[in-house]
Amino acid sequence: MIKELTPGQVKHIAQLAKLNFSEKELKKFQEQLAKIFDYIDLIGEIEIEKVPETFHPTGSKNVFREDIVDDSTVLAQEKVLENAPETYKGYFKTKAIFQ
């Protein structure tokens, strides 16, 4: 069992992920995550010296297109706002992040 993943760490992960948990839930996730990472630690065995990272499985890279707008693929502003619980003069309304 890994010694890591303290309740403090799990709280930190929850904060990064913007998820809220009760104390009971935090404990449950701590146990589950500890067990899962204990298993995942297996990847530490793999010899990866000088091995490049794979970001795209079929090797595609830097796909560009011409900077031309195709109107048929653009949604009108009113459409985009349709599902928002709160809007203000054509803007999405969000919680304030500055005091």
Binding site: Q9, A14, L33, I40, I43, I46, T54, P57, T58, A84
Partner: protein, 470 residues
């Protein structure tokens, strides 16, 4: 002749020969759904009136059948395919009230081809699951045995196609989510090559893994649908410009001399007896048909799942960050446990102090697995192995311990890590009539090879003719 028993191919022939009308076809499928789906729970949203109206209209367009290869054909979409003005939930209460303003490209293509959308199908929320036990809209039951899981995350599509509720159930496969329900439900499921089918409008799970495919009753049916959905989409920069063949026309070619690799790591003592036996029987039939079987080794197999677990959850944590209830949907409190768990695993794997050990290590491991398969393809044309290590299990048998559930995916995740296409075909039944499926994995963009192999085998065995008693 039960109309809903017919395959897509037989249905197209029947429509062409005017044996039945488009309207009658859609009506019969809807009646069947209304009669049996309350038990199975494969649909989240059913659009009865709209489908009937569209079917009626299609009947008047039969002379356009040339341009519309799926005219009048009843289909249903996994509910993570976005549909304009039709509720799309991704199986989660976070999107309980979400009405998309656009269509997924793959659906737009099927619609343009004349298909009739019956409704949206149940799934493990966000694609997070292998059994169908993690939907916020209740479990979907396996039509072959209501006490057992249909497989997931395309649980609704697997059950719906098996129960003859539609001719095509579309899906997504990020770690096995099309192949696993296909195998558990005695239907054909294709995970195409990464980039073969556009991901535009598909609610993202793991952006470097998501493959957009479908489940059908037979291999020909499956090939037909891919002809329509495959191909470059300017709205998906990861989609491929590789040419799209007429897959159905390549089916009858002989399989003589095709080399099938059998990786010994996928046939160990950990694999249930009946699964091994049925897969071997299938491989022997393929040998009889002219294929050459060759034992191969994929030595890094045991690292595939943990590599996948890190990378998939990392991508999930990023993709699910957008759900904040500001532009659409509800707030993050509505995420169920499985989503929260995966977000947490991913967030930890990416976080400062851990990213090197987990995320970057896994990215390198992925490169090695891709190389292992590329080496294998120098010796063989395709790789064959079971989809699951065991036959369909009972509800709650594996869900109580998350790690147990994750390990059901050990054989399916490699195709998502490598991007390779994989076709799941029925290979018979374990005791108590429980379906078992085998997968054929091939080099990128070799779906036609997999279809050819699957088709040849299917002609000999015709498992699709056996139907569950609902």
């Amino acid at each position: 002749m039960e109309l809903t028993n017919l395959t897509l191919k037989e249905t197209l022939e029947g429509l062409r020969e005017k044996k039945f009308s488009c309207f009658e076809l859609t009506k019969t499928y809807l009646e069947r759904i209304k009669k049996f789906d309350s038990k199975i729970n494969s649909f989240i949203t059913l659009r009865e009136e709209e489908a009937l109206a569209e079917a009626k209209k299609s009947g008047l367009e039969l002379e356009k059948a040339e341009e519309k290869p799926l005219l009048g054909i009843p289909i249903a979409l996994k509910d993570n395919w976005v549909t304009e003005n039709i509720r799309t939930t991704a199986g989660s209460k976070v999107l309980d009230n979400y009405l998309p303003q656009y269509n997924a490209t793959a659906f737009a293509r099927l619609k343009k081809a004349g298909a009739i959308l019956l409704g949206k199908l149940n799934l493990d929320a966000w694609g997070h699951g292998s059994s169908g036990e993690h939907s916020d809209y209740g479990n979907t039951l396996n039509p072959w045995d209501f006490s057992r899981v249909p497989g997931g995350s395309s649980s609704g599509p697997g059950a719906a196609v098996a129960a003859d509720f539609c001719l095509v159930g579309t899906g997504t496969d990020t770690g096995g989510s099309i192949r696993q329900p296909a195998a558990n439900c005695n239907v054909v499921g294709l995970k195409p090559t990464y980039g073969r089918v556009s991901r535009h409008g598909i609610i993202a799970m793991g952006s470097s893994f998501d493959a957009i495919g479908h489940l059908t009753k037979t291999v020909w049916d499956n090939a037909k649908v891919l002809e329509i959905t495959a191909g470059f989409d300017p709205l998906d920069a990861t989609s491929s410009k590789e040419k799209v063949p007429q897959y159905t026309e390549l089916l009858d070619a002989k399989v003589q001399g095709i080399k099938i690799g059998i990786p010994k790591e996928y046939f160990t003592n950990d694999v249930e007896e009946n699964v091994k036996k049925l897969c071997w029987q299938a491989l022997k039939i393929m040998e009889k048909l002219g294929c050459q079987l060759k034992e191969i080794s994929l030595p890094r197999t045991k690292y595939a799942y943990p590599i996948y677990a890190v990378l998939q959850t990392s991508e999930v944590s990023s993709n699910l960050a957008r759900y904040d209830g500001i532009r659409y949907g509800f707030a993050r409190e509505k995420f169920a446990d499985e989503a929260k768990r995966r977000i947490m695993i991913g967030t930890h794997s990416l976080s400062a102090g851990y990213a090197e050990k987990y995320y970057h290590q896994a990215l390198k491991g992925r490169t090695l697995l891709i190389q292992d398969f590329q080496k294998a393809y120098q010796e063989v044309d395709a790789v064959a192995c079971p989809v699951w290590p065991f036959p369909p299990f009972k509800f709650e048998e594996r869900s109580i311990d998350p790690l147990q559930m994750y390990l059901s995916d050990v054989f399916t995740v490699t195709a998502n890590l490598t991007g390779n296409p994989a076709l799941a075909v029925p290979v018979g039944f374990a005791p108590e009539q429980l379906p078992v499926g085998m997968q054929l994995i091939g080099p990128n963009f070799q779906e036609s090879l997999l279809f050819r192999l699957g088709f040849a085998y299917e002609q000999e065995t015709q498992w699709y003719k056996i139907k569950p008693k609902l």
